[in-house]
């Protein structure tokens, strides 16, 4: 590999942040899931690794997975694993409505339709 390419390569492989794991227990939530830091998470953030600490700090104001990934410039899959760990540790809560992986129900669709019409 030439010097030129070596300069462009990331210093750390993305999934090194997760110990090589690409899945975490309970981390199968959608990219628009809203992540919220808990009181316990805010109190204990000093013990967290750099990226997890950044997530806990950012999500004091509830933030979606996709925006966390975008703001911290960490790939979505990596953020998902880190959030899975934080959620298991009680440091964050993950909100994604009742619909899970199925489509939004009629009452939610009606709210969305009214909201778009009012734009």
């Amino acid at each position: 590999m030439s010097e030129e390419y070596a300069d462009e390569a990331p210093l750390v492989r993305p999934y090194a942040l997760t110990g090589g794991r690409t899945r975490a227990i309970g981390s199968d939530f959608p990219i628009e899931a809203v992540i919220e830091t808990t009181l316990a998470g805010r109190a204990g953030k000093g013990e967290l690794a750099h990226e997890s600490k950044a997530i806990v700090e950012l999500c004091v104001s509830p933030t979606t997975l996709i925006e966390i990934s975008s703001k911290l410039t960490v790939p979505i899959g990596v953020v998902r694993v880190l959030i899975g760990d934080l959620a298991e540790g009680g440091q964050v809560r993950v909100h994604h409505g009742e619909q899970g992986s199925s489509r939004p129900d009629v009452s939610l669709l009606e709210r969305v339709l009214d909201g778009i019409r009012a734009l």
């Binding site: 628009e32 919220e36 009181l39 509830p62 975008s70 909100h95 994604h96 939610l108």
Partner: protein, 191 residues
């Protein structure tokens, strides 16, 4: 629906929903998202290099100098506790692996169509049909011209009567809004 409040700040924790904007290469997906989003669409657009010439067909779109190489998204607050995200699908075939993640739990999809290159949206339509994702087809009027009528387009696409085919102008907020209204209305009709 009772609002959830943040444990730390007492702020409302919003619910977020999403709509996917699909279609062929350089059909106007990013423009469509940009026209209605409250935030500048977050995009990783990089100038195409010589390496992508021949991979991405630029023959019909010579004015286009950048292309979306990762997903881009926009956001609209529909209410204090309800956010709508719009996701533009990656334009090139080599990003198909991201589609499952984009579409899971989505309200539905707007398939943007350029009538000069109808066949470009076949893969997206096949994909949504095979997974039961509700969609509408929105013909993007480039330069105000619409060379085909919607019946011809329906025939060319081979999609059933109940799937709406509408006209849009991805540059105009009101037109984008009407395309989204059409999609959500269709989703309600098939729900």
């Amino acid at each position: 629906m009772a609002s959830v409040l943040s444990e730390v700040t007492g702020e409302v924790v919003p619910l977020a929903v999403k709509i996917v904007v699909a279609g062929g290469f350089s059909v106007g997906k990013t423009t469509f998202v940009k026209s209605i989003s409250e935030i500048a669409p977050v995009t990783t657009e990089a100038p195409m290099t010589m390496a992508s010439v021949g991979v991405d067909d630029r023959a019909l779109t010579p004015g286009k100098t950048t292309t979306t190489v990762a997903m881009d998204f926009g956001r609209i607050a529909l209410a204090e506790d309800l956010l709508l995200y719009l996701f533009g699908t990656p334009g090139q075939d080599r990003f198909w692996f991201m589609w499952d993640d984009l579409v899971r739990g989505a309200i539905g999809a707007v398939v943007l169509l350029d009538t000069r290159r109808i066949e470009d949206c076949f893969p997206a339509i096949d994909w949504f049909e095979s997974r039961g994702v509700p969609f509408v087809v929105a013909i993007n009027r480039f330069d105000g011209k619409l060379p085909h009528d919607t019946n011809e387009v329906r025939e060319a696409l081979g999609i059933p009567e109940h799937v709406p085919i509408i006209e849009t102008d991805a540059r105009e907020k009101e037109e984008v809004k009407m395309a989204l209204v059409s999609l959500v209305g269709h989703c309600l009709a098939v729900a």
